[in-house]
Symmetry: C2
Subunit: 396 residues, 2 copies
């Protein structure tokens, strides 16, 4: 495979963006990434857009062609890539293979989602449209419901308490408070949210044992990357990021068909493939963005990836091993929990965060010191389609 | 670029398939292609699904992961690719780049669409969801309406009569009658449809000057391909097809923004790029599948691709130059007009037809004799995102 570099990264602040259309969000993130790559004029040879709800929520198709026009990238190639909540990483994969193939020298990857603007029940139903049409959807299963069942099983088997989950939430909100792109930029006051007399009101059960502060919010947002050949990256005479490893794996569409519903096999296989390609091991990773749509998932994924033994991920969080300065800093962006989870944007935003970390550009309070290797896990469905990237800093 | 072969092709008969779900159609086409490639057991490393209406018409997302599970391809990678009516070719492009990159050795490309099952007005509205959200959609523009305006301009400028359009329709229905996979397998009786006392009833105006028999039908269907390395293709010890050229180009999302609305620039650029890559010229092509969503488009595309001078495509049809046995046989499958146009399936079905032609497998009444080089044009929006493939026969 021809090596592929990431030479531009950009995003817009996530949140409830009532004044921006989906196309505006995508365009602003794209322009930020093109500017960052020094390609505001030259653009890119091809465009890959990650989005899930354009059809169901915005009644739009052919968004990619439309964005190529809006960005004045014509006649650049353009496609939309959809893979549920892992659409962002899937679009980045499309960009990776496009440059690796030798057909394109530079590509723009943009992920975005406009989730607000519809009643919450409709958004929940939209998200449930990725569940199994016969075995899950008709029975009212939601992703949150599956997360709750998963958390209950996991906590029983590995003897986790709500304190473990709360520690993920506290860490990620604390980091989100330092990230101007995060949907939530307020740290959690444990007295008010977890312990005080109004805890049941402030942090209600949504899918037992998961409570409000165990779940990512519904967010609008967009993020973008520019991928190119190493020759182009080298010509810029500044630090850049190499795609060092990539892996992807699918698993049964329904949780119920798996031998062990706690086994996130697709995460493990995707990470293993990425490490094999990069010729690296989990101990080499300096910073990671893991798909914490639910607090329990950050813990479970950190184990499947190989950062901790199975069952040890919860204590690792409590012990500060996943904090900034810890053994392996996880979700220093605030993660899905605090940065937010606009479906199509998430996988791209994870990579944007790692690019920033590896270029050592972040303010000291959230920069992982001397980070050289970063990893992302973007998680589709309930771990039925998972993508893992390993990125590496290259300084000229 | 590492060379890429097509080693399997399959499809299901197109039509009004009330008894098959979208997933069933996709799965059946996929199995046909895998069988054809001799890979029913070994499957593929990755899956790319082309579909447009899963969200709007079937209220489903994450179809690709679900299909990987249904086909027992786990843990193969899976994504959905959407690019309006050119989604099929875009998924094939994803497969091409995936194998060319060296990351995957074999990939399955499946395109499908279930368009029936909703009221016709809703289907028209769904198709219109690919028009411009501010400049077109709110004013009630439909793709058929744009086709009508285009046809009127074209016919005036190049002095075409309805007879020219009818000749396309007659040819494609005649060929569809020989194709067991076509939606319409009945030749046109010109006396009944064009000339007789009931012509106005049998062939009513839909978007003046386009009439019913100038338009492709609303169809359900699916088609699939298996792409692989040349090493795998060679190991099968039988004729296979090489992807010799590929090109893609976008254009302004709206027709009204173009300097000359008759100029299908994206078709011309996509074809030129494909010919450049293949080091071939239009005169080298033995058989072509062109995107005849409207009869006028087959004529216009045949010119932009370079088969005929601008303005000469209409007479070429009347003169039989595009028939089987003619200078360049076009849409010997029946085309979109008679085979049908299930959006996500079309681009893949065009390639399936060319693979069959180049392997010399078709019955003599619709086999292009000794075909060596084939070409497809899949056309997104109103020519705002166009893909062109050139395929070449390789016999061991």
């Amino acid at each position: 495979m021809r090596p592929v570099a990431i030479i531009g990264a950009g995003m817009i602040p996530f949140g409830k963006l009532a004044d921006q259309s989906l196309m505006q969000m995508l365009a602003r993130a794209a322009l930020a990434a093109l500017d960052d790559a020094g390609r505001s004029e030259s653009g890119a040879d091809a465009l890959f857009v990650a989005n899930v709800g354009g059809g169901i929520l915005q009644h739009r198709t052919a968004i990619a062609s439309s964005l190529a026009d809006l960005l004045a990238l014509l006649p650049a190639a353009a496609e939309l890539v959809e893979n549920g909540p892992a659409s962002g990483a899937s679009a980045a994969k499309a960009g990776l293979l496009a440059v690796a193939s030798g057909y394109y020298d530079s590509v723009l990857v943009v992920g975005g989602e406009k989730m607000h603007g519809s009643p919450t029940a409709q958004i929940t139903d939209f998200i449930a449209s990725m569940t199994h049409p016969h075995a899950e959807y008709p029975y009212g299963v939601t992703m949150t419901g599956m997360g709750g069942m998963y958390a209950r099983l996991y906590m029983e088997k590995y003897n986790l308490s709500p304190t473990h989950l709360q520690a993920v939430s506290v860490k990620n909100h604390a980091m989100g408070a330092l990230n101007p792109y995060a949907h939530f930029q307020l740290p959690i006051d444990p007295e008010r949210i977890f312990d005080g007399p109004f805890a049941e009101i402030n942090n209600p059960v949504l899918a037992d044992p998961l409570r409000l502060y165990d779940l990512c919010p519904i967010s609008d947002g967009a993020a973008a990357l520019v991928l190119s050949t190493v020759e182009i990256a080298e010509s810029l005479k500044k630090p850049y990021v190499l795609v060092s490893g990539f892996g992807q794996a699918t698993d049964t569409h329904t949780l119920v068909q798996r031998d062990d519903p706690l086994d996130l096999k697709a995460v493990r296989l995707a990470a293993r493939a990425a490490f094999d390609m990069a010729r690296l091991s989990p101990a080499d990773v300096d910073v990671a963005e893991l798909h914490d749509a639910f607090t329990i998932l950050e813990i479970a994924i950190s184990e499947e990836v190989g950062f901790f033994e199975k069952g040890a991920g919860g204590d690792a969080v409590l012990d500060g091993k996943t904090c900034l300065g810890g053994q392996i800093p996880i979700n220093i962006s605030g993660g899905l929990k605090a940065r937010g989870h606009p479906l199509g944007a998430t996988g791209v935003a994870q990579l944007v965060e790692i690019v920033w970390q590896l270029r050592h550009e972040l303010p000291p309070e959230r920069q992982v010191e001397n980070a050289q290797i970063g990893l992302t896990v973007n998680f589709g469905g309930f771990a039925n389609n998972v993508l893992c990237f390993i990125l590496k800093r290259v300084a000229p």
